[in-house]
Each structure stands twice: as structure tokens, then as C-alpha cells.
């Protein structure tokens, strides 16, 4: 019988006690793992938020946000100026276009012009059909435009398609595009007759990678299909920035600039520096971080709480193991003495008790992992809701700060919770605490490490004494 087999046998000497020990360990280990899972989930979310928008500034023409915007368009020279500001790691220019069928284009012109930041969204024609119906909101907004219009022809209720020229493979908010089929556009700094099309728009127009469509009578090939995650975001087309500028006949003009700062700590100072470099009368600089500051702060609190709880639960599990092993070792001092008397080394005795404790911990971990997988989501939600109830509300009010202007019919423009980053509460509730095998394995490894120490200490302390002291003492 090997030392492992002997340890397994010893672990089940007293089945009732083993069951009780395993149950107590399972609760402690389960709690520790649940906290670790929550900690990892929140940590990943914080990282994701920081990576996506936390260090991003958006530059719009001064007065260019909202429905009735104005001001001068941004230029490539200004982009270069921004790029030279300290802590700026990248500047991506965008050029917004609104694509409409030839009929709708005519009608809209008669109605008095388009919307968007400073009227920067040049209208161009396309043979594509929008994937979104106008609906009540679109019709209402369409009617409203008549007040400023000159024509008498009643409205054409067709929503335009958002087309954006981009200087890198990111969406209009600076987030990396999720291309689900086909490829990207390759070189985004040259004009080329290729485009990325949103999933719903592609479906509506039966487009796949390699299909063609027209903008301003120019044939474009669909290089790839992307998924923006929203109906509005998927009713869109991306082309390279020079191509969009060519289509709009406004070379060097930019609708927005997405500025990435090297760290979240530098966002405030960089925002001021960019604003100063461009001049307050020329550009408005908005800060994505502000929308998320409270949310990230709350998530950080949750992360810290879950980390402390994980350590506490782990320490509890370790203490339980230590006490159990102290009890077992005391109970079996005579056996240790006998093993020493017949020639067992101290390390052999230590190994036997360590393996015995690991058997108990392994059983506790299996049950604990099941508990963690069931409870981690609930625990994470409870932690988040109890730590963000007072902070989520104001952030919700500030939501929707991104997106330089919008189309009629709902979209970026609203100041409420409709923006892509609107509502910290939405961000908070979107934290999904799933028990990934890697995290569970890391947690169990930590528990095993604690168990080894907990078992080794009493076993070795007992094994160091002379055999006769143990044998005589009984």
C-alpha cells in the first residue's frame, strides 16, 4: 500500500467526520472561489472599460454636437496638432456621411437640410436600403424638420444610413470593429472602393463579403461584415477616411477625432491640453472617462471587497484545515510514533498527512466549485448592487456624452441613456461573473497551498519528537 493509498484510506477512517469536514471546507472554499470569480469578473470589466473608453477623448467642431450644431469643420492639420500633445498615443479621424437613396435625398433637401454636428454629415446617394424603419420617432422627427424647410412635398419616411470614413479599424466611438465575416479595409489611409457593412444592413440588402453596391454612383465592394451590437450601429457603412472625404468632396475635413491617451490618470490633463491646443472656439473636447468614472470607481470598490473576501475565505479554509489537521495529528500521535519507530522519515510522515488533508480539500473543492459556479453570479450582483446604488444614478444622467450628433429617428444624439456608453448602471449590470476553469483552478491551487501548509506544520512538529515520547505518552 503506497503512502497515497494509505492517506486516502485514512481520510475515510471516520466517514461521518469526513463528511462534516468536507461540508465545512466546501462552504469556505466555495465562498473563496465565488469571491475570486467575482473579483476576476469585475477586474476584467474594469480593464475592458478602461481599454475601450476610459482613456479616450472625442474632439468635435466647436458647437458641433447635437441637432442644431454649427462651427468650422475639423482639419487634418488639427489632427496633427492633437497628435503632438503630450500623452496622446493616437488620433483617429472620422468623416461622417449620410447615405440615402436618390429619391429620399431629393426630398430631404427640399425639407431643409440634414442634421448632425454643424451640418457636417454630407449627404450622398446610395443604392442601399436602410435596415431600420422610420417608425413613430422617425416620422415625428421628419415632420419636425418641415418647420424649417422650404419645400411643400410631404416627407419620405426613409431613414438614412450612417456612413463613416475611418482612419483606423475602429467604429465612430473609437472601439475596435468586430468583423464577423470577410476582412478589414487594410490600409485606412488611402482612398479605395471597399467598405465594411453592418450585419443588419447587409441582410437587408443581401450583401456578403465580395458583394457590390454604389455610393454616389461609384461601385464599392464589401470587404467585410461587422457587428456593432445595436440595430442602429449595424445600419452603417465604414469606408476609409480619404474615400469618405472624396465622396463628400471635402478633402482634409474631419467630422470628429478620437484621441487615445496613454493612461486614465492623464486623461484630465490631456483633455485640457488638447482643448488648449485647438482653441475653445474651434473644437469641443469631450471625455469618455467622465461617463464611466463613477462606474469604474464602484467596480473598483467591488473588486477590492471581493479580493478581501476571497483572502478572508481562503484564510478561513486554511484555518479549518489547520485545526482539523492539528486534531487529527494529536489523535494519531501514537501512530506517528510507531511509524517513526519502524523507520519512517519525518518527510514521509509529513507527506502522508499532507496527502490526507489534500484528499479532504479535493473533496471540499469539488463541492465548493459547484457552490461557486452557482453562487458567484448572485454574489457578484449583490456586491455590485449594494456598492453602486448611490452612485449609479448620477452617472446615468450623464450618459450619452459620446457621438457627435445624430440622425433623425433616434441614435447618438440624445442626452439621456441612449448613447453607446450611456448609463453606468447598464455597465455595472453587464458584469457577468462566470466561473471560468482558469480562475477556479487558480483558486483551488491557492486552497491546496494553504492546505499543504496547514497539514505539514502539525505533522512535522509531531514527527520531530522522539518516538518513545509519543509511545510512552499513550
Amino acid at each position: 500500500m503506497s503512502v497515497l493509498a494509505r492517506s486516502v484510506g485514512n481520510a475515510f477512517r471516520n466517514k461521518i467526520r469526513t463528511a462534516a469536514v468536507v461540508a465545512v471546507l466546501a462552504v469556505a472554499i466555495g465562498l473563496a472561489l465565488a469571491m475570486l470569480v467575482a473579483n476576476q469578473a469585475v477586474g476584467a470589466k474594469v480593464q475592458e472599460l478602461n481599454a475601450s473608453v476610459g482613456t479616450t477623448l472625442t474632439v468635435n467642431p466647436a458647437g458641433g454636437q447635437g441637432f442644431e450644431g454649427g462651427g468650422e469643420p475639423l482639419t487634418a492639420a488639427q489632427a496633427q496638432t492633437v497628435a503632438s500633445v503630450t500623452n496622446v498615443t493616437s488620433v483617429v479621424g472620422t468623416k461622417a456621411l449620410r447615405l440615402q437613396t436618390a429619391t429620399a435625398e431629393t426630398s430631404t433637401t427640399q425639407q431643409g437640410g440634414g442634421f448632425g454636428p454643424g451640418g457636417q454629415q454630407a449627404s450622398v446617394t446610395t443604392n442601399l436600403t436602410a435596415a431600420i424603419d422610420a417608425g413613430t420617432l422617425g416620422n415625428r422627427n421628419g415632420s419636425a424638420t418641415n418647420t424649417g424647410g422650404t419645400g411643400t412635398t410631404q416627407r419620405v419616411r426613409t431613414l438614412p444610413i450612417a456612413a463613416t470614413g475611418i482612419g483606423a479599424e475602429v467604429d465612430s466611438a473609437g472601439k475596435a470593429l468586430d468583423i464577423t465575416s470577410g476582412t478589414g479595409l487594410g490600409d485606412y489611409t488611402t482612398a479605395q472602393a471597399k467598405a465594411l457593412v453592418g450585419t443588419t444592413l447587409a441582410q437587408k440588402n443581401n450583401l456578403t463579403a465580395g458583394s457590390t453596391f454604389t455610393i454616389q454612383d461609384k461601385t464599392f465592394t464589401v470587404a467585410g461584415i461587422f457587428d456593432a451590437g445595436t440595430a442602429f450601429g449595424n445600419n452603417a457603412v465604414y469606408v476609409t477616411l480619404p474615400e469618405a472625404q472624396t465622396l463628400a468632396a471635402t478633402p482634409d475635413e474631419l467630422s470628429t477625432m478620437i484621441v487615445t491617451v496613454n493612461s486614465m490618470e492623464n486623461v484630465d490633463s490631456t483633455k485640457t491640453a488638447v482643448q488648449s491646443a485647438l482653441g475653445t472656439s474651434k473644437a469641443d473636447v469631450t471625455q469618455g472617462q467622465r461617463n464611466l468614472e463613477t462606474a469604474v470607481s464602484s467596480l473598483d470598490s467591488v473588486k477590492n471587497i471581493s479580493l478581501v473576501a476571497f483572502i478572508a475565505a481562503l484564510a478561513t479554509a486554511g484555518l479549518i484545515i489547520l485545526l482539523i489537521m492539528v486534531m487529527l495529528v494529536r489523535e494519531r500521535r501514537r501512530e506517528i510514533g510507531v511509524l517513526k519507530a519502524i523507520g519512517a522519515r519525518n518527510r514521509t510522515i509529513g507527506l502522508q498527512f499532507v496527502l490526507e488533508s489534500l484528499v479532504l480539500v479535493a473533496l471540499g473543492s469539488v463541492v465548493g466549485a459547484a457552490i461557486a459556479s452557482l453562487a458567484s453570479g448572485g454574489i457578484a450582483s449583490a456586491l455590485i448592487s449594494s456598492n453602486t446604488s448611490t452612485t449609479a444614478a448620477p452617472t446615468t444622467q450623464r450618459g450619452g456624452g459620446f457621438g457627435g450628433g445624430g440622425f433623425a429617428g433616434g441614435g447618438f444624439a440624445g442626452g439621456g441613456q441612449g448613447g453607446p456608453f450611456g448609463g453606468a448602471s447598464q455597465l455595472l449590470t453587464s458584469v457577468s461573473a462566470s466561473a471560468s476553469p482558469g480562475v477556479i483552478a487558480a483558486g483551488i491551487a491557492a486552497v491546496f497551498a494553504v492546505a499543504i501548509i496547514g497539514a505539514l506544520v502539525p505533522a512535522l512538529l509531531t514527527a520531530r519528537i522522539r518516538p518513545i515520547e509519543v509511545l510512552r505518552g499513550e
Binding site: 510507531v338 511509524l339 517513526k340 519502524i342 523507520g343 519525518n346
Partner: protein, 230 residues
């Protein structure tokens, strides 16, 4: 050869100092069979534990084949117990939740003997001490006192030690089995050159050993030679 030099072991009991072993000296030739007799509490078991390196003497020394135990670190003493000593305890001291055969295999496992070899030898030894084959796979706590004693003797023989120290090895055995165990120990001494020192109350067992010592108030005196014929 075992040389015991002026061995002393003393304990404190309140204000009193007790010396169960008080200046014991003797020599045992390799392959000899000797016994120690004495009243209960005369220090027989303490002397045995000093010879087996289960305990350390207050003073004096035990020299086994020229190696002084007094100068050995704990790790070497463990090695000495594992390789050179076979112990038969008065209380058997078997591991209760292990099978008889597993108990006999334990010292061999500690000595690094391969599993198949130690299983084979354990079964042979249990047969030698006349434990029924069907009982070899029973847990210790399901064996009688006599059967446990035989397992304890088999375990002591497992690593073919140079010195077997047996504390009342026939105390729980019936006369016939006791005779068999005495014969087994005699044959080990005779055929395998194993030195055997037995502590016993059994005068008949003591009579069958080559040399018999009496321990009285911690001091050892040798009695008249017994009539054992080798």
C-alpha cells in the same frame, strides 16, 4: 556486535529523579539470542527503547558494529531503526486501519523495496508466523491479540534486521504458538546470524536463550547460562 557502555536513563518525576536504567553495560555477540527478565517497572522496556534508538540515553552509549548511536543525528537514527532494528512491541503498535499484510509491508516501503517484492515477502513472513492466509487481508482491528502479536513479529522481521528487540513476544500467544515463535527466533539467530534480545516474564522462554540478564533497580546482572542448544 553490540556493546552497551554504562548506559543511564533518568527522568524527573516532581522532585524525584528516577533511573530506570542506571549504569547498564554488556556486550552481545552477533547472532546471539539473549533475554532480559525483571519485575514490572524494573526498566526492561526503557532499556530496549534505548537499544532501539527510540529514546536517547542520559549518558552512556550503545555501539552497534562499531557505530556509536550517541553521536548520530536524528536522520541517521531513523535509518538505523529502519535498516538494522526490528521491534516487537508489548502493545504490538500496529496500524489499526491497515490490513495485516500492509502492516508488514510498511517497514519495507520505508526502506524503498518495490511493491511486488514487499508483498511477496510480507506474505511469506505471515506464513512463517502461522497467520492464516485468509486473515492476512484482514484489518488489524479484526484480529485477535495473538494474531496481532504474530503480525507484529512478522513486521519486525520485514527488513531482515541485524538486531531484533522483542518486548514480551509470546505474552499473548497460546503455548503451541509461543513455542513456534521461540523456534522461529532461534532459527533466525542460528541461521541468519541475527542478534535477538527478548524482554520477558516467561521463564521458559528465558531458559531457552543463550544468555539471560536480570534487570533490578536499573542495574543489570547476568544469570547462569541457559541450556539452549544451537
Amino acid at each position: 556486535m553490540i556493546v552497551v557502555k554504562d548506559l543511564v536513563r533518568q527522568f524527573k518525576s516532581g522532585d524525584r529523579t528516577i533511573k530506570p536504567v542506571n549504569g547498564v553495560s554488556f556486550e552481545l555477540e552477533k547472532g546471539s539470542l539473549a533475554s532480559i527478565v525483571g519485575k514490572s517497572g524494573s526498566g526492561k522496556s526503557t532499556l530496549l527503547s534505548l537499544l532501539g534508538a527510540l529514546d536517547k540515553p542520559t549518558s552512556g552509549d550503545v555501539v552497534v558494529d562499531g557505530v556509536s548511536l550517541a553521536g548520530l543525528p536524528d536522520s541517521k537514527l531513523t535509518e538505523y531503526r529502519r535498516r538494522d532494528i526490528g521491534f516487537v512491541f508489548q502493545q504490538f503498535n500496529l496500524i489499526p486501519n491497515l490490513r495485516a499484510v500492509d502492516n508488514v509491508m510498511l517497514p519495507m516501503e520505508f526502506a524503498g523495496v518495490r511493491k511486488a517484492a514487499r508483498l511477496k515477502r510480507a506474505k511469506e513472513l505471515l506464513e512463517q508466523v502461522q497467520l492464516d492466509p485468509e486473515k492476512q487481508s484482514r484489518r488489524i482491528n479484526r484480529l485477535s491479540g495473538g494474531e496481532q502479536q504474530r503480525v507484529a513479529i512478522a513486521r519486525a522481521l520485514a527488513n531482515e534486521p541485524k538486531l531484533i528487540l522483542a518486548d514480551e513476544p509470546t505474552g499473548n500467544l497460546d503455548e503451541q504458538t509461543g513455542e513456534h515463535i521461540i523456534e522461529l527466533l532461534s532459527s533466525l539467530s542460528r541461521d541468519h546470524n541475527t542478534t535477538i534480545l527478548v524482554v520477558t516474564h516467561d521463564r521458559s522462554l528465558a531458559q531457552k536463550t543463550e544468555r539471560c540478564f536480570r534487570l533490578q533497580q536499573g542495574r543489570l546482572t547476568e544469570e547462569v547460562k541457559s541450556g539452549l542448544h544451537r
